[in-house]
């Protein structure tokens, strides 16, 4: 087996009695864009800081091309990093900020000059070279930070919630910039965010953190379409959880009974369930259909509200058991929908539903 480019081995970090990271293990291939996604306090930033060398892990190891980084001080790790706040050097111009990592490496002046020009072109800030950071907008400052972090061609770029201080429009702009730069430079990026949309847009793979552990690692599609746990299902995208009772499981497909007594066969299962065990069935809002098809399961609901959201509608419905559902059919699918019926059936494909422990 080939050696992974960056390898996090059983990383553990405790602050006194509180363990922030529990035995996180992860291999990252060269050139990958991997995102640590999770709520605040889930250990994603702590893991990143251990890679940066800001915090010594309590146990475990971080290996870059097979060599441990732990004994290497931050300034010798040759890692690039972009921070949540901009952390540019306020007394240095944009050009001097970008030149800083090259100057401390005692690179020749001609090379520094050329590289700074390249980097300014990469982040499209050529005309801002002589400005001080204070005279730049938040988005521009973050682009300078990106240029500074990449100026010395680090093999890994760490990004700690780099867009959280920016407004929505700027965030999208810089996201596009980050994608382009990742494509152009091929640098391996470890990106930390609590924003699932950002993670889905940007990443090749996502490691979803919860309480200091990785809940699931996979592509955005994996996490969205095949969530390993109810936490993943709840964190990525929107989901409905219906109370259910497990009847039997054959070949990874379960038969369950819903609250209204209807029996549904062929839902996906994670874990093992006993007969009669209480469980929760997860169905995505957009997995509901308004029309029956041969394989679909059905649910009788009362429509509470219908709102128009452009390409989709958002229906708030209530099941016979009194549980509220979020249903988002496409506007096209709603053309034949008769809104005058307050009680009606909605349908879902059992193959798009997942059974989780209650």
């Amino acid at each position: 087996m080939t050696q992974p480019f960056l390898s996090i081995r059983k990383l553990r970090k405790a602050f006194g009695a509180i363990t922030a990271v529990h035995d996180v293990t992860l291999d990252i291939p060269k050139g990958e864009f991997l995102t640590f996604l999770g709520p605040s306090g889930s250990g994603k930033s702590t893991t990143l800081y251990a890679i940066a060398g800001f915090q010594d892990p309590s146990s475990g190891d971080v290996l870059l091309q097979g060599k441990s980084l732990l004994a290497v001080p931050s300034h010798k790790r040759n890692i690039g990093m972009v921070f949540q706040r901009y952390t540019l050097f306020p007394h240095l111009t944009v050009a001097d900020n970008i030149a800083f990592p090259l100057r401390v490496r005692r690179r020749p002046d001609a090379e520094v000059k050329r590289k700074v020009a390249d980097m300014l072109a990469m982040v499209r800030l050529e005309s801002f070279a002589a400005r001080l950071p204070g005279a730049l907008s938040g988005g521009q400052q973050q682009r300078v930070a990106l240029a500074r972090a990449l100026a010395y061609d680090p093999p890994i770029l760490l990004m700690d919630e780099p867009l959280s201080a920016l407004d929505k429009k700027l965030r999208e702009e810089i996201q596009a910039e980050i994608r382009r730069i990742h494509r152009e430079t091929g640098v391996t990026i470890l990106y930390v965010t609590h924003d699932q949309e950002e993670a889905l847009h940007l990443s090749d793979r996502i490691a979803l953190f919860r309480d200091g552990r990785i809940e699931q690692t996979g592509t955005g599609e994996d996490l969205y379409l095949r969530p390993a746990t109810d936490f993943v299902a709840g964190f990525i995208g929107n989901s409905n959880f219906l109370a259910a009772e497990h009847l039997e499981t054959i070949d990874g497909a379960a038969t369950i009974r819903l609250g209204d007594g209807s029996v549904v066969s062929g839902v996906n299962v994670n874990g093992t369930f006993g007969k009669g065990q209480r469980a929760r069935l997860m169905v995505r809002p957009e997995a509901f259909r308004m029309e029956r098809n041969p394989t679909s399961a059905e649910l009788t609901v009362e429509i509470v509200d219908v709102a128009f959201y452009g390409e989709r509608r958002r229906i708030v419905a209530r099941t016979a058991a009194g549980q509220e559902l979020d249903i988002r059919p496409t506007t096209a699918a709603m053309e034949t929908y008769n809104s005058s019926l307050p009680r009606r059936q909605v349908f879902f494909d059992p193959a798009a539903a997942f059974l989780f422990p209650a």
Binding site: F54, N78, F83, T87, F89, P90, F100, L132, R148, L158
Partner: protein
């Protein structure tokens, strides 16, 4: 007239009556006593003995300022990064020492520094030295005593400047490849320069005119300006010469204050503060 000027009036009257008028009287005295002319200034600036006192005054003030900066910087840095509960305790200790009577503190240093003082005895008892170190009645004594007294005036402005520096900036510098030394020289020091300038000039200006500590801890061979003025007026009753010396001190002090304003102003303009 700017709004709120009326509120300044009492202070203005006070300053005029008890500062501006006496200073003008001082100036007048320096060019009239004992007879009209600039001979007092000529004497002070031309005579080697007086020149030595001026030189010594600037030397002591410079040494005190440099040593104070060196001692205050690490303290200020610790204060800037330590948890605020702990920092307020340390601040309390610093302020408390400022509130203690100046003479008390200076006499305490005499007890510590003299030939048979605590420091010399301890060093001799543990066998580090065999004869007492000359720690008092010389430049060493003055420097130690004055640095101690000046420290709060350096620490307080410096902490303000250092607290405004985002500690993440230093982490960013480290990841950029800067060794702790590089990060200090290229990032921390330039960013703290406005605080060093403000505190440094404050300490320097205060040291120039300091009287009690140099008088008690210094020697006769390195007399400072304030001591000389006191001697001229109290012992020699030469009011003209004393006034001229005092006026020179005032002019230098004000020139330095103007410089401080410009430097700190420049620091702000470059984003230093």
């Amino acid at each position: 007239m700017p709004a709120g000027f009326g509120g300044l009036l009492p202070a203005l009257i006070l300053v005029t009556l008890f500062f501006v008028v006496p200073v003008l009287a001082l100036l007048l005295r320096s060019v009239t006593g004992p007879e009209p002319g600039f001979q007092n200034y000529a004497t002070l600036l031309g005579d080697g003995t007086y020149a030595r006192v001026f030189f010594n005054t600037f030397l002591v003030a410079s040494v005190v300022t440099i040593v104070t900066v060196l001692v205050a910087f690490p303290v200020a840095w610790m204060l800037a990064i330590m948890p605020s509960a702990l920092a307020s305790i340390v601040f309390g200790v610093i302020i408390l020492s400022m509130w203690t009577n100046l003479l008390t503190r200076t006499y305490a240093w005499m007890v510590l520094l003299q030939r048979t003082g605590v420091i010399n005895r301890t060093l001799m008892d543990i066998g580090l030295i065999s004869t007492p170190l000359p720690l008092i009645n010389n430049l060493t004594g003055v420097t130690i005593g004055m640095v101690y007294i000046m420290l709060p005036f350096m620490i307080l402005p410096l902490v303000g400047t250092l607290r405004a520096i985002d500690p993440m900036t230093l982490r960013a510098a480290a990841l950029c490849g800067a060794s702790p030394f590089d990060a200090f020289c290229r990032i921390l020091l330039p960013l703290s320069l406005p605080g060093i300038a403000a505190g440094g000039l404050m300490v320097f200006v205060m040291s120039l005119g300091y009287f009690v500590t140099p008088a008690l801890l210094g020697g006769t061979s390195n007399m400072m300006l304030a001591e000389m003025i006191a001697q001229m007026i109290q012992s020699l009753l030469n009011w003209g010469l004393g006034s001229a010396a005092a006026f020179i001190l005032l002019v230098v002090t004000m020139a330095l204050y103007a410089l401080q304003l410009r430097l700190v102003g420049a620091g702000r303009a470059t984003g230093g503060v």
